[in-house]
């Protein structure tokens, strides 16, 4: 362990705000992108499914 304590780790030699400010925003962006992509995939799936249901309902009517 190169750090004397966890406090020293979080302080980053006085650069804590800049270092953690960088890594926190990286993490937030990655999570946000994953969430948005997942939502987009689900939405595409939903529209395709609705279209399919419409068409099968249409086929079924005599």
């Amino acid at each position: 362990m190169i750090w004397e304590s966890w406090d020293a780790f979080w302080a980053m030699g006085g650069y804590g705000l800049y270092v953690w400010g960088s890594y926190a925003v990286v993490l937030i962006c990655l999570l946000l992108e994953i969430w948005l992509a997942h939502a987009g995939q689900r939405a595409s799936m939903q529209t395709a499914r609705e279209l399919w249901e419409q068409e099968t309902a249409h086929d079924a009517t005599p």
Binding site: M1, I2, W3, F9, M12, G13, G14, Y15, Y18, V19, G21, S22, Y23, V25, V26, C29, L30, E33, I34, L36, A37, G40, Q41, A43, S44, M45, T47, A48, R49, L51, W52, E55
Partner: protein, 246 residues
């Protein structure tokens, strides 16, 4: 050779690319996670304090890989756009579109982490030097691509307009890369070079390279995941899609 050619075009059909992308993205995502944890461990618990920049230099473990990805993804978009123009395959435009948001995100992260590094090291969040300005232009190119393709309803026309922007905008990538050589910039030159090797300590270099590989794997996983949604949306009238969602 003839065999190989047919194979490639077979995978280029959305119908076969959809399940292929579905099989490929999870391993890339897993590799990205493992490499990222290894890079963070090396970067925060093994790499020593920098004698000039103290602990503040640890920002570069994400700053440099994010900046690399911002350029590489734009080149990948230009590559797909080029394939689209030459072979007229439908998957090309979809891949270009699938890559854009990830590229824009890495460009933003490059600018953000750069500002947070610049404040304590240079005493300023931002300067209008050639490196920073050309990276900001890259961000606008990504935004322009996304705005342009989403403003055109017909996907084929959106692909062509966006593809042209991706190809023309790619000129900016070498400008970013060589800006520190061509102009007198506040931004420092490259610490890692193909021809001259690296001027960094071994552990620092490894932390950075592992993070770069993690971002590569993440970007591939993300593009493959996102392209599935784009395929479903564009091909929603096709029989095979109806079979998938049924």
């Amino acid at each position: 050779m003839e065999h190989l050619r047919i194979r490639w075009f077979q995978w280029a059909a959305p119908q076969s690319f959809y399940p292929l992308a579905g099989k490929l993205w999870p391993p890339f995502a897993a590799v990205a996670a493992i490499l990222a944890f290894a890079a963070l461990y090396l970067g925060f618990f093994v790499a020593p304090t920098d004698f000039q920049q103290g602990e503040g230099y640890r920002i570069i473990f994400v700053h440099v890989p994010a900046s690399w990805m911002s350029m590489i993804i734009y080149l990948a978009m230009a590559f797909w756009a080029f394939l689209g123009f030459t072979f007229n395959t439908r998957i090309s435009g979809m891949m270009t579109q699938a890559l854009a948001p990830t590229g824009a995100m890495f460009t933003f992260l490059s600018l953000w982490t750069g500002a947070l590094w610049g404040k304590p090291m240079w005493g300023t969040w931002w300067v209008w030097d050639a490196r920073l300005t050309s990276e900001l232009i890259l961000f606008f190119l990504y935004m322009g691509y996304i705005a342009l393709t989403s403003a055109i309803d017909d996907p084929r026309r959106a692909d062509r307009a966006g593809g042209l922007l991706a190809l023309v905008g790619a000129v900016n990538v070498p400008i970013i890369y060589f800006s520190v050589k061509w102009w007198n910039t506040l931004h420092q030159g490259a610490s890692v070079s193909v021809t001259k090797g690296s001027s960094m300590a071994q552990t620092m270099l490894w932390a950075m390279l592992l993070m770069a590989l993690a971002f590569w794997a993440y970007s591939i996983a993300m593009a493959l995941y996102r392209v599935r949604g784009i395929i479903l949306q564009r091909e929603r009238h096709a029989r095979w899609v109806q079979a998938v969602v049924a």
